[in-house]
Amino acid sequence: MVEGLFNPDRWEKAFESMDTFGEGMLMTLKVMIVGLIVALVLGVIFGVLSTTKIKALQVISRIYVEFFQNTPLVVQVFFYYNGLPIILKTLLGASRPVRLSKLLLGVCGVGLYHGAYIAEVIRTGLEAVPKGQYEAAHSQGFTSLQAMRYIVLPQTLKIIMPPLANQALNLVKNTSVLALVAGGDLMYHADNYVSNSGHLQGYIICCVLYFIICFPLATLARKLEENAKKTPQPKKKKKMEVA
């Protein structure tokens, strides 16, 4: 088995099937991009809701976050695959179970799951800005919205960027869960290849492709973290010269 890894013929065969891997990679990238957008939108909405003063909204946000953070993604995805079609059938009054497309299934899976984590990132980011910042803004006459825009959000953004990049990274890796429900993603195609040929090359190529997506994200997260830690240095004198 292990010698097979060094067998050039097997590698050649594997590279001949690059189309399959490409197809899977494309699906993974699609799920990643749309999933990330969904997760960000959900994260911003629920993150902001949990910092409002309205109790009911806080509770709704809490339930969402706790539910998705404390149940495994695999279970959630299996539910979308097996349970949701039946529920949708009843809801829509269709004659057959209504299956989600592979893309939609994937997007729901990672989007809802990571949306919960991103909501927490955003909540902590907003809460990290001291109350005094709002007070200073109000004492100058800024409305809450203006205070957010000019003063709070720029500070929040700096705090949340590193964990957000980390979430994007985890989201990419978690798309591989879709392989379990024939999601048509990179892992699914790689696993198919290995099952059909018996050649482990499939997994290695799969790893390399994930790495190509993930490594830049991890590097970005580290860079952002370093930046966030640094005390900002004085700005270089710009064109404005005050006599």
Partner: protein
């Protein structure tokens, strides 16, 4: 300039301000002293409605301050200097000073910068314009905060324990700026423990205890012959 009528404030069950009545004339320098927990910070924060009064009214220039107009009123009449400075850390010193004039008072960028540099010079920090607040000492940050309050040109400045968070050796540089400022026709209300400052600057001192104004008078009155027992006790402790 400021008129406070039957002001009451509760935090939950805690009655922190009890029937406060106070008038402050235009250009007056008022110093509020008293033990911690006596409600002096809450009182000053009620003036610009950073704290919503539970009952009673605050008038500034004969206009009732309400939940609705408080931001307008602040923009027009009052600025504030905080114990913790509360400079905006995402902006340079210059940006801290020009934000409100540009965004709220629609001053041109050039004019706002020019004005900011004038005020920075006044607090002795014109060479720090491009620094970020985190790189300044506490005393310097507070002087920037005072310059920021000046840039918006309101006739009232509220000082909420401006030197309490400073290292001892930095207190005087901030007080010096405030003393210099007191020569102008700005209405200054200052919560502080700095009695030397009060003596030098205040037209009137009020002493608060347990949510009430216990005694008021000139600084000399307080130093020479305070009447109330609580005032005497307080002074015997802080004047060593």
């Amino acid at each position: 300039m400021i008129k406070i009528v039957d002001l009451n404030k509760y935090f939950g069950d805690l009655h922190v301000l009890k029937n406060i009545n106070l008038e402050v004339k235009e250009g007056e320098k008022l110093v509020i002293i008293g033990p911690s927990g006596s409600g002096k910070s809450t009182l000053i924060r009620c003036i610009n409605h950073l704290e919503e009064p539970t009952a009673g009214e605050v008038y500034i220039a004969d206009t009732l301050v309400t939940k609705k107009n408080k931001l307008e009123m602040a923009k027009k009449y009052s600025s504030m200097v905080f114990q913790q400075f509360n400079l905006y850390p995402n902006m340079t010193v210059l940006e801290n000073l020009t934000l409100a004039p540009i965004k709220l008072q629609h001053m041109s960028k050039e004019a706002a910068k020019e004005q900011a540099m004038i005020y920075l010079k006044r607090v002795g920090l014109e060479n720090k314009a491009d620094q970020y607040p985190q790189n300044l000492s506490g005393g310097q940050q507070q002087r920037v905060a005072i310059a920021r309050a000046l840039c918006t040109k309101q006739p009232i400045i509220l000082f909420d324990e401006p030197t309490s968070a400073l290292d001892p050796e930095m207190v005087q540089e901030v007080l010096d700026v405030m003393i210099e400022l007191s020569k102008e026709n700005i209405t200054m209300i200052c919560v502080t423990h700095e009695m030397g400052f009060a003596r030098q600057v205040a037209d009137r001192v009020i002493f608060m205890d347990d949510g009430q104004i216990v005694e008021e008078g000139t600084p000399e009155h307080f130093f020479d012959n305070p009447e109330n027992d609580r005032t005497k006790l307080f002074f015997s402790k802080i004047l060593r």
